[in-house]
């Protein structure tokens, strides 16, 4: 069964350092999402791509977060510099439909900022 791949699964970093997360969506899925899930809460959309284009990044803290999907396949989410409040699970999801219905989530990257 096809799955969304993410790496690393866990990342511990000190505040002010840079971190990067990688996502490989299900083959053929043109729509890709990055979410942040704080412990005890539901996921919150950070950025949505359609192919290589950003469709929605209204909730992305652009002063420190960046995301790219250069060839419209895999994607990288970067945080620089990391802050204590960035500790969370970062989830990637992809969907075949541009509507987002039927999206599949990856296992996530658990980030701890010390």
């Amino acid at each position: 069964e096809a799955e969304v791949a993410q790496s690393p699964r866990y990342k511990i970093t000190e505040k002010s350092q840079a971190v990067a997360f990688w996502c490989d969506p299900i083959s053929g899925h043109a729509t890709l999402y990055w979410y942040r899930q704080i412990l005890g809460q539901g996921p919150e959309l950070l950025v949505q791509f359609q192919d290589e284009s950003v469709v929605d990044d209204s909730q992305l803290p652009k002063d420190r977060f960046s995301a790219e999907r250069l060839k419209g396949v895999d994607s990288t989410l970067k945080i620089q510099p990391a802050e204590l409040g960035d500790s969370a699970m970062y989830l990637c999801a992809s969907s075949l439909r541009t509507s987002g219905r039927g999206q599949f989530f990856g296992p996530g990257t658990r980030l701890t900022v010390l």
């Binding site: 539901g42 929605d56 509507s99 987002g100 219905r101 996530g108």
Partner: protein, 113 residues
């Protein structure tokens, strides 16, 4: 302002019992209401979803009940099993942009054998 309120925060049910999780939404523009199941260390997985043109949708042991006038919807898990123990999230969005769902804060379900 939280637009989707989920309750209870945690739920303990005996094996074979019925688990009921409730959600309420505020934005009347929402017309797509999915439920996700999340196991520890895993991402959420879509369980079942409903549109407001029907009041109930059933898939196996899982049923969504939808009350449009009250702006509420609920998940019923019949014959709950220990393997159902997980965190459940409701969500709401416009059907044309389900990727921008507003999620509830989750319900941790424990099914005791």
């Amino acid at each position: 302002q939280q637009q989707v309120k989920q309750s209870p925060q945690s739920l303990i049910v005996q094996k074979g019992g019925i688990s009921i999780i409730n959600c309420a939404y505020e934005n009347t523009a929402f017309d797509y209401f999915p439920w996700y199941q999340q196991f520890p260390g895993k991402g959420p997985a879509l369980l079942i979803a409903i549109r407001p043109d029907v009041s109930e949708k059933k898939e196996g042991r899982f049923t969504i009940s939808f009350n449009k006038s009250a702006k509420q919807f609920s998940l019923h898990i019949m014959d709950s099993q220990p393997g159902d123990s997980a965190t459940y999230f409701c969500a709401a969005s416009k059907s044309t942009n389900a990727g921008k769902s507003t999620f509830g804060d989750g319900t941790t379900l424990t099914v005791k054998p």
